[in-house]
C-alpha cells in the first residue's frame, strides 16, 4: 500500500502499524510525535494502530525557532 508520509508518497507493507513504520524509519525512542490524518496518536498506541492505504502520516520533531 501507499501512504503519504510527511507530504510525500511512501510505500509500506499491507497491514503495517505505526510502530513498524517508526521502527523502519529508525525513529523508535527518538523525540518525535506522530499523527494520522491530522489526529495525534500517542506513542503508547503506535503498536496496533494499523495504517490504511492513502493514510496521511505526519512525523514531527522540535527544531530551532523563535
Amino acid at each position: 500500500m501507499q501512504i503519504e508520509l510527511n507530504g510525500k508518497p511512501h510505500a509500506l507493507a499491507d497491514g503495517a502499524d505505526l510502530a513498524q513504520l517508526i521502527a523502519a524509519l529508525e525513529l523508535s525512542g527518538k523525540a518525535v510525535a506522530v499523527a494520522v490524518n491530522r489526529q495525534v496518536v500517542p506513542s503508547q498506541l503506535w503498536a496496533g494502530r494499523v495504517l490504511a492505504d492513502a493514510d496521511r502520516v505526519d512525523v514531527v520533531r522540535a527544531i530551532g525557532g523563535g
Binding site: 507530504g7 524509519l25 527518538k30 518525535v32 510525535a33 512525523v59 514531527v60 520533531r61 522540535a62 525557532g65
Partner: protein
Amino acid sequence: MNMNDAPALTADAGLTIAGKTYNSRLLVGSGKYKDLDETRLATEASGADIITVAIRRVNIGQDPNAPSLLDVVPPSRYTILPNTAGCYNAEDAVYTLQLARELLNGHKLVKLEVLGDEKTLFPNMPETLKAADTLVKDGFDVMVYCSDDPIQARMLEDIGVVAVMPLASLIGSGMGILNPWNLSLIIEQSRIPVLVDAGVGTASDAAIAMELGCDGVLMNTAIAGARDPVRMARAMKLAVEAGREAFLAGRVPKRFAASPSSPMAGRVV
C-alpha cells in the same frame, strides 16, 4: 549605623506564568544559530529559563542519529515553549500544538502565533483569537503573540490565555519599541503577564520594554543574528535585569528645567 549593614535589596520576585515562577524575565528563541553548539552557548549565556522551539516534519531519510535541538536545550533543564511559527490559520496552529504536546510528554505551556502574511509576519488576530479559544478549552496554557492593540489583548485575556505578547515591531526587524504608548495601555489594563515578543534589536530595546513595565521579553533574531551571539545573549540578560530594576526603582520624572545635583549651600565662591 554601620554602612555595611545596609539592608539587602529585595530580589525581583521572578516571572510567574500559569502558576509557575521563573527566575529570568528573558525568554529566547532557538532559531537562526549557525549550529547547535552556538545555540547551546547563547542559550546558557542568556540565563533564560523558557526557550521557544518550532515543530517541523522530520526529514525522512536524514540520519536519525544526528544531534537534535533537545539534546542541547534539554527539557530537564529548560522549559520548552513550542510555537506555531509558519501557521496562517487557527486549525493549523491548533494541530501543531497538539503534536507539540505529545512530543513533549503532555506539556501544556505553548506559544500561539497565527500569522497574517509573509511580508509582515503580523498576527492575524481573528484566527489567533479562534485558536486561543480552542486551545484554552483543550487545557493548554497559551502565551499569545498578538498585535499591540489593547482591545485585542483584553479579548485574549477574557478567553483565558496565560500571557499576552504584543510585538514591539515586526518579527526579525530589529526596529525596537515603536509604540511604547500602546504597550503601556496593555500593561496598565492586563491582569496577566505582558511580554514584548518580536522587534527587539539591541540591549537598550529590551531595557526600554522592561522599564515600561513589561513582565518579560521574548527574542530570537536580536541574539542569534548579532555578530557575537553569545555576547549579545549576555547583554540581553543584563538589559532585561537592568530594565526591570529601573522599573521597580521608579525613574525620576522628566522635567524641562535643569536641577543641580550638587547642593547650592556651602559653595566656596
